[in-house]
C-alpha cells in the first residue's frame, strides 16, 4: 500500500503534464473543426485524399463534418499518445528504481519482489485509468458541447477500447522492465515496438495484400472504424488483449523474481 501511494505521488506531475498536453490537442481539434465547419471544404478535402493519406487518418469513411467523424480521425493520435504514455509508464515505474539506484533501498525493506511488482502494477493501472477518464471528460466537455448531436455514447465506446490498449501496453512495459537488467535502454525498446505497431496499423490500409496486418497490431483492435462504423467490439480482439495482458503480467513476475538487480 505504501509503495502504491508513493508511486501515485511521485507520478503526479508527470500525469498532469500528459493530461494537459492531451487536453490541448483535443482543444486544438475543436478549433479546427469549428472553423472549417459549414464550408464543406474539410469533408471535400478528406474525401479527395489519396488512400495512402487517408490510411494515415484511420482509413475509415468518416464524415468529418460531424463531430464524431472528426473526433474519430483525431482519436488515432490521442490513442497513440496514451499508448506511449502507458508503455513508458510501465517501463519507468520498474526501471527507474534501478536507474536511480534506489532499488537497493527498496528491496532491503521486508518485502517480497512480488508485492513490489503488484503495488507498481496497480499504480500503473490507476494512473492509466485517470488519464483515460481525463480524456473522456475533456472530450465530452470540448466536443459534445460544440456539437449539435450528443456523442457521449460513441466517446464512451472509444474510451473503453482505448483502456484495453493502455492496459495491454502498460503491462508490456512492466514486462520488458522486469525482464531486462539494462534499465536505460528498456524505454527505447518499448517505444520502438509501440511505433512499429502503430505503423503496421497504417500499412494495413495501404494495400490489400497488407490487410492481414490489422490482426497483428493491437492498434486496429479497438480503432474508431471498427468500433463506430463496423461491428463494434469484437470478442476475439478482447480475448487476445486479455490473454496478452495476463501473459505479460505473469511473465513479469517470473522474470523479476529470478533475475539479479542491477546495482
Amino acid at each position: 500500500m505504501n509503495i502504491f501511494l508513493h508511486e501515485l505521488k511521485s507520478y503526479r506531475k508527470s500525469l498532469l503534464i500528459w493530461s494537459l498536453c492531451l487536453i490541448l490537442l483535443i482543444w486544438m481539434g475543436i478549433i479546427e473543426f469549428l472553423s472549417s465547419k459549414g464550408s464543406n471544404s474539410l469533408s471535400e478535402l478528406y474525401n479527395n485524399l489519396p488512400p495512402s493519406l487517408k490510411a494515415l487518418m484511420g482509413g475509415g469513411d468518416f464524415n468529418v463534418e460531424t463531430a464524431i467523424g472528426y473526433y474519430s480521425v483525431l482519436f488515432i493520435y490521442i490513442e497513440l499518445i496514451v499508448v506511449i504514455h502507458a508503455a513508458l509508464l510501465g517501463v519507468g515505474i520498474i526501471s527507474k528504481e534501478e536507474k536511480d539506484k534506489t532499488i537497493e533501498f527498496l528491496l532491503t525493506r521486508p518485502l517480497s519482489r512480488n508485492s513490489v511488482l503488484i503495488s507498481k502494477t496497480l499504480a500503473t493501472f490507476v494512473l492509466i485509468l485517470i488519464l483515460n477518464i481525463v480524456i473522456l471528460l475533456a472530450s465530452i466537455i470540448i466536443f459534445n458541447t460544440n456539437s449539435d448531436e450528443s456523442i457521449i455514447s460513441e466517446l464512451m465506446k472509444l474510451m473503453v477500447g482505448m483502456l484495453f490498449l493502455q492496459i495491454l501496453f502498460g503491462s508490456f512495459g512492466l514486462f520488458i522492465a522486469s525482464l531486462r537488467k539494462q534499465a536505460k535502454s528498456s524505454g527505447s525498446i518499448v517505444l520502438g515496438i509501440v511505433l512499429g505497431m502503430f505503423i503496421m496499423s497504417i500499412l494495413a490500409d495501404l494495400h490489400k495484400s497488407l490487410h492481414f496486418l490489422r490482426h497483428l497490431t493491437p492498434f486496429r483492435y479497438f480503432d474508431a472504424k471498427t468500433l463506430l462504423l463496423e461491428s463494434g467490439f469484437k470478442l476475439i480482439y478482447i480475448f487476445i488483449c486479455i490473454i496478452l495482458t495476463t501473459a505479460f503480467l505473469l511473465l513479469s513476475h517470473y522474470f523479476y523474481n529470478k533475475r539479479d538487480l542491477s546495482l
Binding site: N2, H6, E104, T108, R109, S112, K258, L261
Partner: protein
C-alpha cells in the same frame, strides 16, 4: 547460536568472478569484520545475503532462515547500510525516513528523531540537496530506525568526517551492547581493529583467513628493522619465519615469526648501527596475507 551462516557461497556474473566458495558464520552478539580490498567480493557477498542478487551455488541463512526464499521475514530484523546510498531525490529526509519506517510494523518515529539528533542530521532538507556525507547519515538513520537485530554495514564510514565516524562507531557499539549482531565490511583495517571481535579476510573472491583480532595480532609477528654500516649478503636472513624482506640502502626490514632466540643470535653476529623491534599493526599483517598469495 549463529546469526549468519554462509556455506560454499559462489556467485559468477556470467563468466566473471564474484565470489567463490565463501563460507563463514557470524555468532549472535558479535561484531564480525569482513575485510578485503575493493573488488574482492565483499559487496557481492552482502548483496547475495540480502537477496538482491542470486547465488550461482551454495546456501546462506540468517536467523536460521533461508536467505534466498525467506528474505521478507529476515529483512524485518535487518538494518543495512550500503556503501553508496541512493534515495529518491525529490523527497525530504523526514519523508524518506517515514517511508522507510512504513515498511516495518512498529512505530519508529521516536527513534528517527533520536538518531537524527545523534548524527546531527537536518530532517527538513531534500535528499538532492545533501552532500555525500549527509546522505550517508540518512543511510545510518534509515538502517537503524527499526531497531534491527542484525546490522549489516558495507564500507560504512566513507564520506563521514572523523567526528561523525566516531559518533557512528559509538552508536554501533551501543547497539552491540544491547545484543545486536553486526557484520562490518571494510577495507580500512583500523576501524575493523577498533570494533570487531573476529574477521574474515577475503581476497579475489575467496576467504583466505577467519581469525579473532587477538589471534591475528598474537601470532607473534615482530617487525624488525636494522641499520648497518656494511652490505649484508642477500641470503643472510634467508631463514624460516622471515617475511616481507626489504632493503633500503643499509636499512633492512622484515617480519619475523618464530623462535626469538634464533633471530637474536643471527642479529648478534652483525655489526649493527641501529635496531627497532616492534609489534606490527594489523595493517602489516593484512598486507602480508595479501602479498603472500595462495599459500597464505
Amino acid at each position: 547460536m549463529n546469526v549468519i551462516e554462509i556455506n560454499n557461497l559462489t556467485k559468477y556474473y556470467g563468466k566473471s568472478r564474484g565470489i567463490i566458495d565463501v563460507s563463514f558464520n557470524v555468532e549472535a552478539g558479535e561484531i564480525f569484520g569482513f575485510i578485503g580490498p575493493n573488488g574482492a567480493g565483499k559487496s557481492t557477498t552482502i548483496r547475495t545475503l540480502l537477496g538482491l542478487i542470486k547465488p550461482t551455488s551454495g546456501t546462506a541463512f540468517i536467523f536460521g532462515k533461508n536467505c534466498f526464499t525467506d528474505g521478507k521475514e529476515i529483512l524485518k530484523d535487518v538494518g543495512y547500510l550500503p556503501s553508496e546510498v541512493f534515495y529518491y531525490d525529490g523527497m525530504k529526509v523526514i519523508d524518506l525516513l517515514k517511508y522507510s519506517a512504513s515498511f516495518y510494523k512498529k512505530d519508529c518515529t521516536k527513534r528517527i528523531y533520536e538518531l537524527a539528533e545523534i548524527m546531527d542530521l537536518d530532517l527538513n532538507k531534500k535528499i538532492e540537496e545533501l552532500s555525500f556525507g549527509n546522505k550517508k547519515k540518512v543511510g545510518i538513520v534509515q538502517g537503524l530506525l527499526h531497531e534491527p537485530k542484525l546490522i549489516i554495514l558495507d564500507e560504512p564510514t566513507s564520506g563521514l568526517d572523523p567526528l561523525m565516524q566516531q559518533k557512528f562507531f559509538e552508536l554501533i557499539k551501543q547497539e552491540n551492547q544491547k545484543g545486536v549482531t553486526v557484520l562490518l565490511s571494510s577495507h580500512i583495517l583500523s576501524e575493523v581493529q577498533k570494533l570487531c571481535n573476529r574477521v574474515a579476510i577475503i581476497k579475489e573472491g575467496r576467504i583466505i583467513k577467519i581469525e579473532t583480532i587477538e589471534n591475528l595480532r598474537g601470532e607473534n609477528y615482530k617487525r624488525i628493522i636494522i641499520e648497518t654500516d656494511t652490505d649484508l649478503s642477500l641470503d643472510y636472513f634467508n631463514i624460516d619465519g622471515v617475511n616481507d624482506f626489504t632493503i633500503n640502502n643499509h636499512t633492512y626490514s622484515f617480519l619475523y615469526k618464530g623462535d626469538i632466540n634464533i633471530i637474536i643470535k643471527k642479529l648478534a653476529m652483525l655489526n649493527i648501527k641501529n635496531i627497532t623491534i616492534h609489534e606490527p599493526d594489523l595493517e602489516e599483517i593484512f598486507m602480508h596475507y595479501y602479498e603472500k598469495g595462495e599459500d597464505a
